[in-house]
């Protein structure tokens, strides 16, 4: 036994699993979902587009919360900064090309991510949560104060994005916006799959579990987390910019505590620490909200509350997390 092992020792270690096939499968899942969405709700593309913008925010939150263990109730700061960056670029600087607006959103979000990261990473646990709450309120107040740039509480209106590639205009039916959103989401999703599986992603998962151990390996948790915060900001910025492009208005709500808390709820609902969990949580929460609020606009909040309680009781790892676990266990039992 021992001799066999030593003999093998020099042979290269084969990798246990391959990523590419799974990546393509994931891409296919997203695109199929997008097509199904288009077919099922052809007249409701604005809602679907909005879901995808929020999904980007929730994905971005998953990066810091699910993969790095940072507790935050202020993540909309990154999303809103992206939205305002894109909106201000369009309204005040005449940058109305949708792709350039997204670029502006990425820069705005990343900068906000840097600022938030520097502050939030100074504490852990509950105090960290409080720092994030303080930050989102500061961002919100700042945007309210800078009303000559942001339109204040009236919202930043008058964003008129050019047709995409000069051909596809953003119309009433929202088809262009929908396709634009699907493509952005798919690109970001694939990018994030690469990131979370990369050495850096692994490092972050290590930090989440035991930052001291990472230090003992000569790694700096703070720098890695800060880097993740900037990436997270860029992703949220894409979502914000998408929102600005598709709705052509940016409101203070995009920098609100409410949106931050909702995005956290969606993430935990779907399951932290997995990209599909983040997307699942967003889709389920927002479709559910749309459904019950259309069915009973006056008392839907109770039903949303009941959904959250039910998830904690019956799907403790989130919807996607729990399903994935059950499937894995079944596969394990079958083996």
């Amino acid at each position: 036994m021992t001799t066999a092992t030593t003999n093998q020792a020099e042979a290269p270690l084969l990798s246990g699993r391959h990523g590419l096939g799974r990546d393509l499968a994931a891409l296919a899942v997203i695109l199929v979902l997008a097509v199904i969405g288009y077919l099922l709700f052809p007249n409701n593309l604005a809602l679907l587009t909005r879901i995808m913008a929020i999904a980007l925010l929730v994905l971005s939150l998953d990066l810091v919360t699910g993969y790095c263990g940072v507790a935050t109730l202020g993540h909309a700061a990154l999303f809103g900064s992206g939205a305002y960056a894109a909106g201000i670029a369009a309204v005040h600087f005449g940058i109305t090309d949708p792709l350039l607006m997204v670029a502006a959103g990425i820069i705005g979000g990343a900068l906000a991510g840097l600022v938030c990261g520097v502050v939030i990473l100074r504490a852990h646990g509950l105090p960290q949560l409080v720092l994030s709450i303080a930050l989102i309120h500061l961002f919100h107040e700042f945007a309210n104060k800078a009303s000559s740039w942001t339109g204040g509480s009236d919202g930043l209106a008058g964003i008129a994005p050019d047709p995409l590639f000069g051909i596809f205009a953003y119309d009433l039916w929202g088809r262009t916006a929908y396709v634009f959103a699907v493509v952005l989401l798919a690109i970001v999703f694939m990018f994030l799959r690469l990131v979370v599986r990369s050495p850096f992603g692994m490092l972050c998962r290590g930090i989440k579990e035991d930052p001291i151990r990472i230090q003992a390996m000569g790694g700096s948790p703070t720098i890695a987390l800060l880097k993740m915060y900037v990436i997270s900001g860029a992703v949220a910025g894409v979502g914000g910019a998408l929102n600005a492009v598709s709705t052509q208005v940016v409101g203070l709500d995009s920098l609100s505590f409410t949106l931050s808390a909702e995005s956290l709820v969606m993430l935990v609902l779907g399951g932290t620490g997995s990209l599909f969990g983040a997307v699942t949580g967003t889709i389920v929460f927002m479709l559910f909200e749309d459904l019950v609020s259309a069915a009973n606009p006056f008392h839907w909040l109770t039903m949303v509350g009941a959904l959250l309680i039910a998830v904690v009781l019956f799907a403790p790892k989130g919807l996607y997390g729990t399903v994935a676990e059950v499937l894995a266990r079944r596969r394990g039992a079958g083996r």
Binding site: A9, M202, Q215
Partner: protein, 254 residues
């Protein structure tokens, strides 16, 4: 031969109690030193002072002739001072291959890379294969850590430490908590450590100490009371007193 690792007059007290009191030691490449002492002798504090997790009140730590007293814990690791933990600190959902690969990339300053999966980095995986193979963990390379036995987790700790290519290795009770049947593998792994590496092992198990160490340092009440060959340690009256006599006697003797 010049010292690769030196500690000079290290002091640290907590609220008036000197937990590390004027400790000095020096090691050359290839040294195999065991640090022993009764409970409460200040071994853990000493390790934390050396690794930079705790700041000393006075004294100096040097690696390769350079003072690292004002260098933080992370940079001390990068300068070749690596430790293992008394209780394993591993990432439960990751595989041994991932652990070791992460350590290798960390050493090369590539752990921040955002693209590529190291399972598809041939250079890294070859090294992982060698390290893991040496420690007999090949079959487990792709199983999550929480599924593998504690003894093997201890081996993985050693593999990770080696992956960082240290110049000085601090082993904090490398066999603690391992069932008797598995200690043999750990001992063999310790025996196979690179020849030019300076190893300081903190250990309780005297059998292991005698088989491994060429030199023994005894710490009691924060002070070095013996520094010499394993053969002499049991004969030293002060060591006998520290272990067999009461704690109070030992400290008054020091």
């Amino acid at each position: 031969m010049s010292a690769i690792f030196e500690v000079r007059n290290l002091k640290r007290s907590f609220g008036g109690l000197a937990v590390t009191n004027d400790v000095s030691l020096s090691m050359a490449p290839g040294d195999r030193v065991a640090l022993i002492g009764p409970n409460g002798a200040g071994k853990t504090t000493f390790v934390n002072l050396v690794t930079g997790n705790l700041e000393p009140d006075a004294g100096e730590v040097r690696i390769g002739g350079e003072s690292v007293t004002n260098v933080n814990a992370i940079d001390r690791v990068r300068r070749g001072l690596v430790r293992s933990f008394q209780v394993t600190r591993l990432f439960q959902d990751m595989t041994p291959a991932e652990h070791v690969a992460l350590a290798i990339l960390q050493r090369d300053g590539r752990a921040g890379r955002m693209f590529g999966n190291f399972l598809s980095m041939p250079g890294v995986m070859a090294e992982v294969g060698v390290l893991i193979g040496k420690l007999g963990l090949r079959d487990l390379a792709h199983r999550p850590v929480r599924e593998i036995a504690y003894g093997q987790q201890r081996l993985l700790e050693i593999a990770m430490a080696l992956a960082l290519k240290p110049r000085v290795l601090l082993l904090d009770e490398p066999a603690a908590g391992v069932p008797q049947s598995d200690t043999g593998r750990i001992e063999r792994a310790l025996a196979d450590l690179p020849d030019d590496l300076a190893v300081l092992m903190i250990e309780h198990d005297m059998d292991l100490v005698f088989r491994f160490a060429k030199r023994v340092i005894v710490l009691a009440a924060g002070t070095v009371i013996f520094d010499g060959s394993p053969a002499d340690v049991t004969k030293d009256p002060r060591v006998r007193e520290a272990y067999l006599g009461s704690y109070a006697d030992a400290s008054s003797a020091a």
